[in-house]
Each structure stands twice: as C-alpha cells, then as structure tokens.
Amino acid sequence: MTDIGFVRADMVDAKPAPNRTSGAIAWAQKNLFATPLDGVLTVLGVVFLLWIVPPLYNFFIGHAVGPSGTVEECRMENAGACWAYISSEMEFFIYGFYDIPQQWRPNIVFALGAALLIPLLIPKVPFKRTNAVLFLFAYPVVSYFLLAGGVFGLMPIPTEKWGGLLVTLIISVVGITLSFPLGIILALGRQSKMPVIKTLCIGFIELVRAVPLISVLFMASIMLPLFMPQGMTIDKFLRALVGVTLFTSAYMAEVVRGGLQAIPRGQYEAGASLGLSYWQRMYFIILPQALKHVIPGIVNSFIALFKDTSLVYIVGMKDLLEAVKTKNDTALEWQSANTATTGYLFAAMVFWVFCFSMSRYSIFMERRLNTGYKR
C-alpha cells in the first residue's frame, strides 16, 4: 500500500452500461448532457443564442428594409439593415466609376472568367490543359483590352475609372496567378545549392515576410516611380499589383518549401538516376508531390491575398471596400442610422462568400488528392 497522497489507492467503480446508443435522446445525452458540466454549458449556450439571435434576425431580416424599400423606411425608428441602399448603389459597388454604357465589357470579362474557371475547378471536365492555357494566357490579354479599350474601336477607359468588386477581383486573380509561379521559383531557389541564388532568395523572402503589406504597398506606390527612368510613369494600378504579387510570392515560397522538404531524398535521387534534368525532375517528380502536400497552405495564401487586396485602399486604389466606404460617407440621400453598418456588412458578406468557398474547395481537393495516404 502506498502512502502517497495523490495516487489513487482503490479502484473506481465501473459505470453502468448505457441505456440507449442511438436516437435523438441518446444523441442529446452524448453531445449536450454528457456530464452535469456539459448540461450547464448547453443551458448557457442556449441562453446566449436566445439572447443574440432575435436581435440579429430582426436587424438582418425582420425589421430590415428590403431591396425595393425607400430611404424614409430606413430612417424610421427601429428599422434594421437598409438593403435598399445596397441595391440602389449596386452598380457602383461592382464597377466603380466605369462608364455606365460600357459596363457590358466588365460583364463579358466576368462571364468569360467564370466560363473558363469553373470547368478548370471541376476535376471531371476534360481538356484541362487547353483550358488552363486559355485561362492563364489568353484570358488576361483579352480582359485587359476589353476593360481598358483603345483597340477595335472600343472607347478607352483609364484604370482610374475602374473600381469596386471589379478591381478587387482583378487584383486578386492577377496576384494569385503571378505569385504562384513566382513563389515556386523562390522556393526552388531557396533549396538551391548555389550560394548566390540561395542567399538572394532567402534575403528576399525573409525581408518581405518581415514587413507589413501596407509598407510594401507604400514602397510600391511611392518608390517605384522614383526607381524608373525619368519621364516613365507606371500606372497606379500596376504599382499595387506589383506590391501585392511580390508580397504574396514570398509567403507562397515558404508554403511550397514546406512541401519540398516533405519529399524524401530518394525521390530526387531516383529522378537523377533516370537521367532527368533538374527542371524535368522538378516538373515531373518533385513538384506534383510537393504541391499536393501543401494545398491547404497554398489556398490559405490565396485567401490571405484576397483579403489583403482590401489594403490597396490605403494607397488610393478604388476596390470594393473603397467603393462601400465612399458611398457610406458621401451618399447623403441614403443617410440613416444603419446605412454605414449595412454597407460594411454587405462588403463583409461578399468577401466572406469568396474566402469561404475557396477554403471549402481546398478541403474538397485535399480529400480528392489524398491518394496513397488512405488507410
């Protein structure tokens, strides 16, 4: 017999067998009232829900003014969200100051993008290679000329007039498509045995990752013009794109490096013994395995980039957030107690839908590609 106080000396009595193991009551017993403490937490959770849900429901739906409502209804006492404001300013939120008769052009760009992207995302659709080439190379060129105009008799529309969701989507799509290959190259450079290239890549990655995006954007918007030869101006849009792309590629490089490090040495050596060149080895053997490992990380970087596009507001670009804020501050005809809140909630919902679907898609792909690790 031990005399140590904190060691149990006698056996605990066995628990009786459970009465039910399936059905609603058993589920509630297991998930809501497993222990008395669980019961207390459940009660507190329900109380919290009862407290928070009715006001939220009233604000979003119950007392909200529908899309066809008027500003007078929004200004009434106890009125909820003012969806009428959103629906009346929707054009501005999507296109910014893009000329209204020309808005079919961004529409075509949106439609083309969806038509090319959706089949690319669905694994079963054939012609992936053609599809990818079209999306990555043909689509940007077509979109640029469609949006900017100046050719084929299209009215030129300067980038200052672009705005709203259009700009947010352009920056994020361009940023994603450019930062991904750039990140892979940086990651490979960091793994390289050549000291000069390795040092350069490490220096770039660590420097960019150490500073906030805002300061990179400041640098791109203030210092890039200084770096260029006299008389040469860079479009403000392009400066922001450069900043966002460089920033994300550094993060992407670290994600890809994680994947590269997870590949056993034997794979590199097997590739080399087959007589494959460095790039062949990377393209056919290493990267397909490495990238598969880090899909969640890659998509997380995409999501971060999509959210970070809102920061271009600080260097004077007109993205969705800027459009909403401008209207909140200046649309005097829609002034009411809940206008600003509704505007920001709308922007939040748009961002949320994009980010959440990206994260769900990454989970889907992760499961699909999880070959060879299934048990």
Binding site: T2, D3, I4, G5, F6, K30, L32, A34, P36, L37, D38, G39, V40, L41, T42, V43, G45, V46, V47, F48, L49, L50, K193, P195, V196, I197, L200, L207, R209, A210, V211, P212, I214, S215, F218, M219, I222, M223, L226, F227, M228, P229, Q230, I303, K307, T309, S310, L311, Y313, I314, L321, K325, A340, T341, Y344, A348, F351, W352, C355, F356
Partner: protein
C-alpha cells in the same frame, strides 16, 4: 589492413559547358551580374529623379522640428518635437496596441480553440461559427466596421454611455479612471514584488519536498488550510453581502452575511468541505445569472428570471459539489489559497498600515468634453478591439491544431494510469500540445504586430501612419522614411525568430 579498391573509374570527362559545377558558377555569375546591373540602374534613376525634383537625401531631417500634431502619445509630444521623437512615438504606439491586442487575443483565442474541440455540440458550433466568420473577412473591413459603423455611431459626448466603474463611451472614445498613486504607494508595490518572490520560493520548495517525499511540508499544509478557510470566508462574505444587500434586501445584511460566512469557512476545514463549495458556487452562480439574465432579457418578468437563475445555479452547484467530493484531501493539493493570501494579502496589509492612498481620477463631464481620467481615443479602441477579434480566430485554430496533434494514445495512456480529466490535460496533453502551438502562436503575435499598421487607415498614430505617412509627406524623404519603418518591423521579426529558434531547440524531441 587492405586498401579498398572500389573498382570505380574516375568520373568521365564532360565538356566544359555541361559540367554541373561550371554551369552553377556561370549561372550565379549571370544572376549576380544582372542584380548588380539592376540595382545600379535603379540607383542611377533614383538619383536622377531626385536631382530633377531638387530633393536632398540623408537622415539629417531626423533632428529637425516636426511641427505636426499627434493625437495620441505615451511619450511627451509637442509640435516642437523632432522627427526622431515622432519615430519613437510611432514605435511605442505600435507596441502598445500590439501588446494589449496580444494579451486579449491570446485569452479569447485559447478559449475559442478549446471550445471548438468541446464535446458539447452547442459550444463547439458557436466557436466554429465565430472562427469561420471572422477569419474570412478582411481585417481592414472589420476595423472600418468597428471604427466608422460602431464607435462613430456612439452617442455624442453629452449623452455618453455610462458603464460601471466610472467608464464612459462616446464618439470621442473610451474614458476610464486613471489611477493616481501617492508616494507611500511605492511601498505597496515593493511589498507586492517581495511577496511574489516569497510565494514563488515557497511553492518551489513545497513542490520539491513533495517530489522527494510524496507529501507537502507539514507547515505549508497547515498554513494552506488556514489560508483556505480565510479565503473561503472572504468570498462567502462578499457573495452573501451582495445577495442580502442587493438581490433580497434585508436589514442587518452585513451581520448575517458575516455569521454565515464564518460558518461556511468553519465547514470548509472539516470533511464537509465539498458542501461549502457547493453552497458558495450556488450563491455566486445565482448572483451572476440573475444579474446577467435580468439585463439580457429585460422583457422577462423578474420572478421568472430569479427562478430560472436559481434552477441553473442549482445544477451548477451540483456539478461543483460532485467535483469537490472527488477532490483529493487538502494535504495532497497545491496550496493555491496560501499563495494568493501572500501575494495579495501582504501588499493589502502594507497599504492599510502605511496609510497609502490609491485615488482614481475619474473622468468628469464638463461643459464640452470629459476632463480627467484616461481618455483612450476611438482609433485606439477600434484597432485594439479589431485586432483582438481577428487574431483570436487564428489563435483558436492554432490551439485546436496543437491539441489535435497530440497522439490519441497519450490520452488513453493517461486515462489508463487513472489520471483525471484536469490532471490529464495539465500533465500530459497541454505540455505536448504547447510544443506544437508555440511556434505558430508566435507568428500570429508577429502578424498582429504587423497588422497594427492598418491603424493608419483609421487614423491611429502608429509607426506607418506617423513616419511613413505624415513625416514622409512633410519631408519628402521617401526612401529614408520607408527604409526606417521597414527596419523596425524587420528587427521585430528577427528578434522573434531568434527567440523561436532558441525555444525550438529547447523543446524539440530528443530522438535517437
């Protein structure tokens, strides 16, 4: 000994340009050459551009008068201050908001991360909804929401919302009382420091003795029992006083409360200690629930609220009571109450004996604005709040991943040793989870610090706003200002990774 003959011929001669070594050197020379050329081109362009704009370069501007206002500063600041002082103000403001954000986000994030893993359906779903909502919305948007839609929509100064403890919220921010300690209060602080040292030493000694002998030292156990009873008395007295004075007003409330508290404290040293805990937890839970429910559902009849509160409190009390029955005897428990009595009691005693005063300067509404107290500008409140809410969702995911990374076998092994839930978490799961949690947690802290630069968008005077914003615009020294700003963040980042490397080396698994 024989010489080894590998039978391997010398590597075949390859042509000069196919030799991987020579190729590598050529590549590197080309890259280095391109880079040098590129930098030279940029430097040349920049010099030409600056000359064309008649701008000078150099860091001499740091010693010039800044001449602008900074709305919020911990350091003394006036229009006559120098640019290097603005730089320091920016750094301290960044560090201040980052520090507060980190503390609050850690608390909220750990709670949410554990809640998401809870076996309770409602609790885990609530945490999931919070995390999935918040982390998919840009931080800048959240900051705008808190700043422009919530804080700016607060009532004007004259109609300030008054919160308990003389705290006020209005359009101009959060007004809190400012502690104004007098000379003697220094002694209280010194005593507090000594008490912390004494308590630490005492607990180290007690733990060490227990490790060696299996028992806490007898003196510590005795003192611990006394401290337990004393703390029980204090808590019981306070809770009962509120109950009798506020909820069910009766005459002679203090006397009755004191008598009952003494009884409870006496009970707590007998073998009916669990009963004390049950009764106390009922009273406290009832007080909290009655107040909270009453204010959350003000439309419910108060009798209903009271009955509901009492019912839930009864369940809680039962939980605590059964838990307390299972508690090991006080001889086997760490004397937490004793440490609390030392750390809090000693300074309190000195405070009382020395006649020191700790007054609070309360913000008072004058004609146009609040005067006195500590006035936190809305920019600060929005930024700290937004950073906390946002980063907490990421910390929660980090915590969840860390706990899930601990092998299930560890939990089962701990269960088979007969460790209880709390001990299992404290001794087996958490130490192993921390090894996984801490590195990403640190990078979340770093992210929070970097994200505090978004304060620039809502006008909080942090480093980017003050230095890469105002100072840059006034001096036109773009390169210098941005370089200095980036340097600060670079130093933060390097320091963090140094500490992290040291930590990782310390906690990494020692394998064969």
């Amino acid at each position: 000994m024989t010489t080894l003959d590998t039978g391997r011929a010398a590597a075949p001669r390859v042509s000069f340009f196919n030799d991987p070594v020579i190729r590598g050197i050529i590549y590197q020379v080309v890259v280095a050459g391109l880079l040098v050329g590129f930098i030279a081109w940029i430097v040349g362009n920049t010099a030409a551009n600056l000359a064309a704009q008649n701008k000078t370069t150099g860091f001499d501007f740091l010693w010039k008068t800044a001449g602008f206002d900074i709305s919020f500063s911990l350091l003394p600041w006036s229009r006559g201050s120098f640019y290097w002082e603005a730089f320091l103000v920016g750094i301290t403001n960044t560090l201040l908001v980052a520090f507060i954000g980190i503390i609050l986000a850690t608390m909220l994030g750990f709670t949410l991360g554990i809640a998401r893993l809870s076996s309770n359906f409602i609790i885990s779903r609530l945490a999931t909804v919070y995390i999935e909502t918040i982390r998919n919305i840009p931080l800048l948007l959240q900051l705008f929401f808190w700043y422009f839609a919530v804080l700016k929509a607060m009532p004007a100064v004259r109609e300030s919302l008054a919160l308990p403890f003389d705290i006020f919220i209005n359009q101009r921010g959060l007004m809190v009382p400012r502690p104004t300690p007098d000379q003697e209060f220094a002694w209280v602080m010194i005593t507090f420091g000594i008490a912390v040292v004494v308590a630490t030493a005492l607990s180290v000694w007690a733990m060490r003795t227990r490790t060696l002998t299996g028992h806490y030292p007898r003196q510590v156990v005795l003192a611990g029992k006394a401290a337990d009873a004393f703390v029980t008395f204090l808590i019981a007295f306070a809770a009962l006083l509120v109950l009798f004075a506020v909820i069910f007003p009766i005459s002679n409330a203090p006397v009755l409360a004191a008598i009952l508290a003494v009884l409870l404290a006496a009970l707590s040293v007998t073998r009916f200690a669990a009963l004390t805990r049950g009764v106390l937890s009922f009273v406290i839970a009832f007080l909290v629930l009655d107040t909270a429910l009453g204010s959350m559902f003000s439309w419910l009849p108060s009798l209903f609220v009271t009955v509901l509160g009492a019912a839930v409190a009864l369940v809680i009390a039962r939980v605590v009571y059964t838990g307390a029955l299972e508690r090991p005897p006080s001889e086997a428990r760490f004397p937490l109450a004793l440490m609390a009595v030392i750390v809090i009691g000693a300074p309190a005693l000195v405070y009382w004996l020395s006649g020191a005063t700790l007054a609070f300067e309360v913000p008072v509404l004058q004609r146009f604005n609040f005067v006195g107290g500590l006035q936190l500008p809305p920019e600060f409140v929005a930024l700290a709040f937004g950073l906390t809410i946002y980063t907490a969702s990421f910390i929660a995911e980090t915590v969840r991943a860390g706990i899930q990374a601990v092998n299930k076998g560890q939990t089962e092994a701990a269960q088979s040793l007969g460790l209880k839930e709390g001990d299992r978490l404290r001794l087996v799961i958490v130490p192993q989870a921390m090894r996984v949690i801490i590195p990403p947690l640190t990078s979340q802290y770093l992210n929070l610090t970097k994200n505090s630069s978004l304060g620039a968008a809502i006008g909080y005077p942090e480093l980017v706003n003050v230095f890469a914003g105002t100072a840059l615009n006034q001096t036109g020294r773009a390169i210098e200002c941005i370089a200095l700003t980036m340097l600060v963040y670079l130093i933060f980042s390097l320091l963090t990774s140094l500490i992290m490397n040291w930590y990782n080396a310390r906690v990494s698994l020692v394998e064969r």
